[in-house]
């Protein structure tokens, strides 16, 4: 007889299996709409794989696309650990980018070793500051942070558009709403020559390692986990619940802000209102795929970035819309939720009657 039994304590490797399974399931499910368009399914997936990792160039493209996703993924993972539903990484990313541009386009003139950190710091600070309001609203007015962070995304994007059409518009930009380019001292150097991959990726990886250390080994991490798992018990035990929430909000916002700053300082060199094709929202998917583990954010980001980069390649070759990538990512989110549930059960094979 086969039956489902509840697993009290799913092992860690199992959640990794669930994530990989969810990623594969998402790809498999996307084959259905892909087939409906009449495109060759196997060929399309092969093109996607080649586009994402078929050559050194392709792979560096994927890693460079993964960079902002690591940051926004960390933003979501850290916040979700404390049950703070920061869905506003998209807005915080733009706030970070805007601050990076404000500092890095000549307002401050410093040598590169000082200016680059300053640009990144400005981005982190702007992201953190933007997250402060929803956290305060939550703590002070019990206003649901999901709604406030989501609505702030739209406000920030409009604000960015306003700045790009107004005070921060590049006079040399031929009328396009874009900022002035960053000065050379503010630009993040490339990792590989002639490729777009920049040191922002390195910083992202370091941030993920630090975040993992913080969660596992520090008092802050202890408090974040305690507040997230059971806020009333944390409060009863005397842990600083309010301060932890604020700290988590600021850290989460800072991560998302860094995503924007690195995109500007490492990849684009200037700011436009279409800087992010939804990195903030994809960060939520990344975080869920990682099982809210900061280190897990790295492979999860690379997967999601690979889907995006691969879909672009595939789209260019056979003309299937690259919105397919968004479809895969959305499917992956729902699949990993179900997968996480599945890890809590195990299939048991039992024999009803004794052996003969």
């Amino acid at each position: 007889m086969i039956r489902l039994a509840r697993r009290d304590n799913p092992p860690l490797w199992l959640s990794a299996v669930a994530s990989v399974g969810a990623a594969l399931a998402a790809l498999a499910l996307t084959a259905v709409p892909l087939a409906l368009t009449g495109a060759p399914v196997a060929g399309a997936f092969r093109l996607m794989a080649e586009g994402a990792a078929g050559s050194l160039f392709a792979f560096t493209e994927t890693l460079s696309r993964a960079t902002p996703l690591i940051f926004t993924g960390l933003a979501a993972a850290i916040a979700f650990r404390a049950r703070l539903w920061n869905i506003g990484a998209e807005g915080q990313l733009y706030a970070g980018a805007l601050a990076a541009v404000a500092v890095g386009t000549g307002a401050v003139s410093l040598p590169a070793p000082a200016l680059v950190p300053l640009v990144l710091l400005a981005g982190a600070a702007a992201g953190a500051l933007l997250m402060l309001a929803p956290v305060v609203f939550k703590l002070r007015f019990s206003a649901d942070e999901v709604v406030t962070t989501l609505l702030l995304n739209f406000i920030v994007l409009l604000f960015v558009q306003m700045m790009l059409e107004g005070p921060m518009k590049d006079p040399m930009g031929l009328g396009w709403p874009q900022s002035e380019p960053l000065v050379d001292e503010a630009v993040l150097p490339k990792i590989v020559d002639k490729m777009r991959l920049h040191w922002g990726f390195g910083i992202a990886v370091v941030a993920a390692v630090l975040a993992q250390l913080m969660i596992d080994r520090t008092v802050w991490g202890f408090e974040i986990r305690a507040v997230g798992e059971n806020a009333p018990a944390a409060r009863y035990a005397g842990l600083p619940v309010t301060r932890t929430m604020l700290r988590v909000g600021l850290l989460s916002g800072a991560c998302a802000g860094l995503a924007g700053a690195c995109e500007v300082a490492g990849l684009k060199g200037y700011l436009t209102a279409d800087l992010s094709p939804g990195f903030g929202y994809a960060g939520i998917v990344v975080a869920m795929l990682s099982g809210l583990s900061p280190l897990g954010v790295i492979p999860a980001s690379i997967f999601v970035a690979g889907v995006f980069v691969g879909a672009d390649t595939m789209s260019r070759s056979i003309g299937v819309s690259n919105y397919l990538a968004d479809l895969v990512v959305a499917m992956a989110l729902l699949c990993v939720l179900v997968g996480g549930l599945a890890t809590r059960y195990r299939v048991e094979f039992t024999r009803r009657d004794a052996r003969t």
Partner: protein, 535 residues
Amino acid sequence: MSAARGPQAEARAPARPVLSLRGITKRFGPLIANDDIGFEVAPGEIVALLGENGAGKTTLMNIIFGHYVADEGEVSVAGPDGALAPLPPGSAEAALRAGVGMVHQHFTLAENLTAFENIVLGTESLWRLSYGGGGARARVEAIAASSGLDVDLDAPVSRLSVGEKQRVEILKALYRDARVLILDEPTAVLTPQEADGLAATVRALAARGLAVIFISHKLAEVVALCHRILVLRGGRLVADRAAAGCDRATLADLMVGRSIEVTRTPRRPGGPPVLVLDHASADGERGRGALREASLVVHGGEIVGVAGVSGNGQGALAALVAGLAAPRSGRLEVLGGTIRAADPAAMVRRGVGRIPEDRHREGSIGRMSIAENLMLESVRDGAFQRLGFIRRRAAREHAEEAIAAFDVRCPGPDAPIRLLSGGNMQKVILARALERSPMLILANQPTRGLDVAATADVHRRLIAARDRGAGVLLISEDLDEIFVLADRIAAIHHGRLTPSFATETLDTRAVGLMMAGHDPTTQEPEFETAGGRAP
């Protein structure tokens, strides 16, 4: 299935049963919650189902009511013609239709609806254009009047008292023409006087032919009210006998299976005051259950018990002593210092050991390890962190010591605490609360839901703490517990705290009166309060 069922043989076989259980067995993993249970109940009979926590009472009732499906066995209910018909398993709706009504310990009422709306909920087609038509109102009123269940039908349930809510629950069952009524621990939430009122109602209903199953672990009320007594222990039915002539001591032995004595040494008076409440008021949750001008002194070396039906301000009182709230007016002194602001961490630093009411909600963090739960209150101490990094070896060693000292049965310090049984989880919480030898201990419902052995262990540790000179504030709904542990007893009613009286001078009736807000001073006991003598 043909194995001898010894105890049943003793029972008088009821004529034409209305409910019949045969061979009910239910397993949860390796645990056998119900093991081959069978009995019958006749119309008009009041049957007690006695058993300790974990004996399988609730599981059995959930099977009868269709919330669980039994692995083996059959539940049958008599139809209108009196012939028994098996109940389809796992269907609450079928149980309801067959005339089985159940009043759960935690009420199943929608608080945003009125009493009447709760009663008619689900009794008519969902697609009708209005509810409560077709004389429903008149029927509910008639049933209420004839059974003496007095309730304001148009009041939102959120405004009803506990007793009224219970009456709504019984009306729900009667409105559905229940022929079997199951009451799950109905008196746990009532004062002794309210419980008497309930007993009268139950007798009247039984006289009209209703079969009642009365679940309880209180021997006295069961012997007084019921016709027949069934005893469950460890999932098995160990006794089924007429109540008349039943001896409480024997029942107790049947229920527990072994006797566990808590030795109680007389208190040594004269410790310094460790907790002083002087006309202290505090808000309750959601504007209910506030504490009003409470005065109380707890000295070192004594246990002061606060009796009362839940929701009468215990929460606010506990929140004050736990540091979750500050008094809105009046004075709160803890271990010599005056408390002005809510700060649980400061309470811990002052040396208050706190055992919260709900070990899942406030006492532990289920998915964190036992070691982490043990250092929840002290993670910022130098012992456990250096420069913001957790000293993991120190934490682990500390946990191993605590696990050994408090005899916590667990896979190890790194296991998530939610895997532990209630008793072992409570031991972890006790270890955390008691390890630094606090001089004031708040014990809020410290044994709720624990089995006999775990309860005895908690009691022993609280008495040991008292004997080394700590003062204990014990808040409990369980009067037996209060009488076993407390040196002095106060009661709380509508947020008001009565003066406290030496335990020797009180009996259950007197405490019951205090819990109902009456003055028990006719007995002229000796007492002491912070606010002066009672009139």
